[in-house]
């Protein structure tokens, strides 16, 4: 009963939900949460294809790198959020419309 299609559907749901979070929320941290969901959806796809289609471990490696990149992205992103909050005293995404000053 556990076929490739079931993983792909779960991945798709995660992706779409992450997308909707990114669009619906106005909080920068919440948008980052959405991004994490999307990344995880992609990683899940890699691992699933690695299991069912290619039968090697490259998908696993890719998933690992996605986790690494996501961690780095989260660290830098959150640093930017904190800095932004210090400057503007808000984390509303629509306040971040200027390239400088």
């Amino acid at each position: 009963m556990i076929s490739l299609a079931s993983y792909l559907v779960i991945s798709m749901i995660l992706f779409v939900v992450g997308l909707m979070v990114m669009i619906a929320r106005k909080n920068i941290v919440a948008i980052l949460l959405g991004i994490e969901l999307v990344l995880n959806a992609a990683a899940l796809n890699f691992v699933a294809y690695s299991k069912f289609v290619t039968n090697n471990l490259d998908g696993h490696i890719f998933a690992l790198f996605i986790i690494v990149v996501a961690a780095a992205e989260a660290a830098v992103g959150l640093a930017i959020v904190i800095r932004f909050f210090q400057l503007k005293e808000t984390i509303h995404i629509d306040e971040a419309t200027q390239l400088r000053n």
Partner: protein, 720 residues
């Protein structure tokens, strides 16, 4: 001896670098950089002395020279040759000149540190003086007329700046302009002469000019109906007339005393006026080829006599010296004209020494008493003993008293003039030249001793000034330079004999070095002469003259060397006449100003005195006639032509054309450029702005939505 660029160029470059450094950093240096200027000129002096000792050392060679050239620029193309070389040319005359200029300039620099010490523009004075000296040294080192002209003009600028040094005084400003403008008249001719020579010879190098004369290139060449050699020689000589203040362009030199006294000493002795005579000596073969010698002799004689008469009535100390300079320059030019090349150059050197000393003495007096009107002075002998000694020696020298340098050189010029005018078989009309010369010599002795008697002898006429004056003490920069120069006013330094004649020899005939070394250029020697590049090191050994040549040359070198008897007679008469004339002049001055037994001139010839006081109305003539009647109407005519003809027809007519073109272009500008181009662009930008303002909101989520929808649309397009 070895000659490379490294031991010749410093002569010119040291003062020049002193000028550059002082001009930019002088204010930051201790003592405003005067030590730098003095040191630089002293280094030049050392290098010049080295060259001089080589040239005039133990062996004598008339044909010894250094000639180094480098290519300044080369615009030759195809068959056309246009190549300009610059270079250094030193012969015996140049070596002696270098030593004189650097030596006198060193002492003047030293004196200036005392004379100018409380001047607010102390540093600036040394800036100008360094440039002035370096320009003169560059002129002496030059091997061609073009670089001579460059340094010539540089000196013109420096004299302009120095004469107008006290620019707060209106007279000083006027005098500097006058000097600049008057010499400019001569310079224009000089440049014309250079061009004339260039187009014939293809070079303005002295050596090339001499060679061209020797090869006869000038023969038969004509320009504007007169001989080219005459034209070129006349033009170059006009440069001399302007620079050396000859008749009729002598008017600027008396006014040049508005500058500081050391600068007057420099202008009158070592640099500016000497350059003119030096140039005419250098171009002497051209003058001969152009048959200009009689004209030159006449100009010199007129100047010598005329300036001497004006000097009779001057009451200003420096004015007397200024007119005596003009008069002495007249003797030099006369010497050139009568073919007394050697004596003319010797007079240039001796005059430089004693005139520098006279001006420095005058500076010493002026600085001590703050007064230069002679009627207010008197009896200064006791207060200024060293200045008195120096000035007395120089006055004896310029008056032509035996044993002094002026006697030697002037007597030789006068002797040659006498021979040339009376015994050489020319038309008797030219006897006017020696007559004017002897008359001028008499007047010289008279007015110089008049100056001495009024200044140093008798009773003080203005006790306030007299009491104000301090006792003079020996000091290395106030009166030691005067005393050093005084030593060289003695005649035997230059001729080896006490009198300058063949009797009374002190050091034997070999000390007639001056006579042997300096002679008029023999043009045939210069044909095919080699010159070497700048980088080469010259190690030629000087060849001693053959004994026969040597003995011949210790004899007479003047006009027409064949007629020994006539020359001897002329010189003997000249010498005796000179001595009587000198003492006569001195005695007359003594009677007038010490004994008081003869009434001064002014009372007996009052009309004549007025003319003299107005300097023969030359200034009035130039201002009233040449400028008022000549130049100003000419300017008016030019102005009328400019306004009435050129402006009305050419400019206004062109304006009408422009007006039509303007209408057309305005229509084009309004309709096409403005309405369509400029405003259309604006409207287009506005439209895009309306759209882009919505799209480019800076809101990241909007971009994100667009991104996702675009991606989706791609997938749909590809898959369906």
């Amino acid at each position: 001896m070895e000659y490379s660029i490294g031991n010749i160029a410093p002569i010119f470059l040291c003062p020049f670098f002193a000028f550059v450094i002082n001009a930019f950093f002088g204010k930051k240096l201790p003592r405003q950089g005067d030590w730098l200027a003095v040191l630089a000129i002293f280094i030049s002096f050392i290098f010049s002395l080295r060259i001089f000792l080589d040239f005039a050392g133990s062996t004598f060679a008339t044909d010894y020279y250094i000639h180094k050239v480098f290519n300044w620029f080369d615009l030759s193309a195809g068959g056309q040759t246009f190549k300009v070389d610059m270079g250094i040319y030193i012969d015996n005359m140049g070596a002696i000149m270098l030593l004189m200029v650097t030596g006198v300039a060193t002492l003047i620099h030293l004196f200036s540190t005392w004379y100018m010490h409380d001047d607010p523009r102390y540093g600036r004075f040394f800036v100008y003086v360094s440039l002035f000296t370096s320009a003169m040294l560059g002129l002496v080192l030059s091997d061609n007329l073009l670089s001579v002209f460059i340094f010539w003009e540089l000196m013109g600028f420096c004299s302009y700046s120095l004469i107008g040094f006290y620019y707060e005084k209106e007279k000083a400003g006027d005098a500097s302009l006058k000097a600049f403008m008057t010499t400019r008249v001569g310079d224009v001719f000089f440049l014309l002469g250079i061009v004339a020579i260039w187009q014939l010879v293809g070079s303005v190098n002295f050596v090339d000019i001499y060679a061209a004369i020797a090869e006869g290139k000038f023969v038969g060449q004509q320009v504007l109906g007169i001989s080219l050699a005459t034209f070129a020689g006349f033009c170059v000589f006009m440069g001399t007339i302007g620079k050396s203040a000859q008749f009729p362009l002598q008017v600027w030199l008396p006014d040049a005393m508005m500058g500081p006294t050391p600068c007057s000493a420099l202008i009158h002795a070592a640099t500016m006026v000497a350059a003119g005579v030096y140039l005419s000596l250098r171009t002497y073969p051209l003058m001969v080829a152009g048959e200009l010698t009689q004209f030159i002799a006449l100009i010199g004689a007129i100047t010598a006599f005329g300036a001497a008469t004006i000097a009779l009535v001057q009451t200003d100390l420096k004015a007397v010296l200024a007119f005596s300079t003009i008069s002495q320059l007249g003797y030099m030019v006369m010497g050139v004209g009568v073919g007394s090349y050697n004596a003319a150059f010797m007079h240039l050197i001796t005059h430089a020494v004693f005139k520098a000393c006279l001006f420095l003495s005058a500076g010493s007096i002026i600085h001590s008493v703050h007064e230069q009107e002679m009627p207010k002075l008197g009896g200064l002998r006791k207060k200024l003993p060293y200045t008195f000694i120096a000035m007395m020696c120089c006055t004896l020298a310029i008056a032509g008293v035996p044993f002094f340098a002026g006697f030697v050189s002037k007597d030789r010029i006068l002797g040659d003039a006498l021979f040339w005018g009376v015994f050489a078989g020319q038309s008797k009309i030219w006897a006017i030249v020696p007559i004017l010369g002897f008359a001028g010599a008499f007047l010289t002795a008279f007015y110089m001793f008049r100056m001495m008697f009024l200044t140093f002898f008798g009773k003080p006429r203005d006790h306030h000034i007299y009491d104000h004056c301090h006792e003079e003490h020996i000091s290395f920069n106030s009166n030691v330079p005067l005393l050093i120069l005084t030593v060289f006013t003695l005649g035997f330094w230059y001729c080896g004999t006490l009198t300058g004649q063949s009797f009374g020899k002190v050091f034997g005939s070999k000390t007639e070095w001056f006579k042997i070394l300096v002679e008029a250029p023999r043009v045939e020697r210069f044909v095919g002469r080699t010159r070497e590049p700048f980088s080469a090191v010259d190690t030629r050994v000087k060849a001693e003259l053959p004994k026969a040549v040597y003995e011949h040359q210790t004899g007479y070198v003047g006009p027409a060397a064949g007629d020994e008897h006539g020359i001897h007679k002329a010189h003997l008469i000249g010498a005796i006449a000179s001595i009587f004339i000198a003492f006569g002049g001195i005695f007359l001055a003594f009677l007038m100003y010490i004994k008081g037994s003869v009434k001064p001139l002014a009372d007996t010839f009052s009309g004549w005195t007025t003319a003299l006081k107005n300097r023969y109305y030359f200034d009035d003539f130039y201002v009233g006639v040449v400028i008022q009647k000549g130049m100003i109407p000419f300017n008016r005519f030019l102005a009328w032509f400019d306004m009435g003809v050129y402006d009305r027809f050419a400019i206004d007519g062109w304006a009408k054309v422009n007006r039509v073109a303007f209408r057309a272009s305005r229509w084009f500008d309004d309709v096409v450029v403005d309405a369509i181009g400029v405003d259309g662009t604006g409207v287009a930008v506005n439209l895009f702005n309306l759209v882009l303002r919505i799209v480019q909101s800076g809101k990241i989520q909007f971009y994100f939505v667009v991104l996702i929808l675009t991606l989706a649309s791609y997938i749909w397009t590809i898959n369906l």
